[in-house]
Amino acid sequence: MNMNATLILQSIAMMVFVWFCMKFLWPPLLKAMDERRAKIADGLAASDRAEKALAEANQEVEQQIKEARDKAGEIVEQANQRHGQILDQAKDDAVDERQRQVAAGEAEITQSANQAREELRATVASLAVLGARQILEREVDEKTHRELLDKLIAEI
């Protein structure tokens, strides 16, 4: 352990290194660190704000969903009513149509029957005349017995 001038040189070296550090190391490092700290603080604040905004948006969305649901319910209700109405209408229409068709059918049947009866009556009349003529060829004069014959035809 011998003391010598190393002592002095070491002191000088230390001072120089401290000066280096003070000049070239400390300021940029601390600046970067402080800037990052500020950035992180900003980021955290922004995230807080975003969280709050998100909560608000969620609330609004819920509100809107609720409204939409109510509206949908209303629409379904209306649709159901309309459905009933349409069904009733259709039923009524069908009943009317049926009645109309039945009536038409009945009319046609009546008409056909009448027609057939007319035709039959005419045929029978002519057949009767024909038959009577053949039976009474000679004795019965159409002209003399006309009245009788008409009476007979009307009766048929």
């Binding site: 003391m3 190393t6 230390m14 970067a32």
Partner: protein, 349 residues
Amino acid sequence: MSSGSEAPTSGEYIQHHLQNLTFGQHPDGTWGIAHGAQEAAAMGFWSFHVDTLAWSLFLGLAFFMMFRSVAKKANSGVPSRFQAAIEFIVEFVDTSVKESFHGTSRLIAPLALTLFVWIFFMNLMDLLPVDWLPWVATSAGISYQKIVPTTDVNATLGMAIAVFVLIIIYSIRYKGVSGFLGELVFNPLNPKELGMPKVVWPLVMAFNFILEIVSLLAKPVSLGLRLFGNMYAGELIFILIALIFAAGSGFVGAGLSSIFGEHIPAWFWIAATVAVFATLWLNLKGKLDNKKTLWLLLAELLLVGGLAFLGGQLMHFGWAVFHIIIITLQAFIFMMLTIVYLSMATEHH
């Protein structure tokens, strides 16, 4: 393990390890490197420990380059891992300074950072095996090499003196010359407040001055000697452990001597070192499992130097682990005390 063909005795070995490479003026008037402790002592005060200065400058530059490489690219974006590590240290020092120094100073935080990292680096050299670099130096023709600057009292006291100068400067800056001198003579017994007669004032003031000057001077001395003492003692224990290696290779490793004769050739040690490193490397590469690695290491160490060598290895490892705490702690203590002393210098008692 140094000079000549003969193996040195234990005493010589230790002494050789504790001798700095000294440059100075020989008694005959020429300047040069001292050969041996007597010559170094004969050089007197105006000589220099070249190894201490070179290593501390090298380590200081290493500190500067390391931090500068980060400081140049430092930005507020996402830091790289290395940048984060550096910033962690800076933050740590900054916090320590803010907690302990109750004033404003642009100098104090960089001072603390420089002291902490620089001293830590210098202490770290203690963990290198004591013979490695001195052996390299010897091979290169440099006969003495002490690679841990903080085991040189000149280095630690040199730094402490620089701190002491700062203490004086801060005291005068914050209290003025009269305030600073007043504190020296009116503490701890203040004759004015105690209402003493004017006649005894000089006596009390002289008494105060002696007390205060001792406590003032004790600051740099304790600062420097504490670091020096811890590192010197730690280094000495490493050297003693290394001696056990040497003893082991002659004592239990007799088998080796019977193969190689009196002197085990250097290539054997190199081969053994390479084998150990290769084993560890294979383990790290995942080619060897941990159990096999441990057995292989044990076998290699036993083969190389016998039980004593193995014991030396384990002791070296144990002490190195413990020493890691010491070197960090001592660097931290030096930094903290510097901060505290400078803080005291700025405050009025």
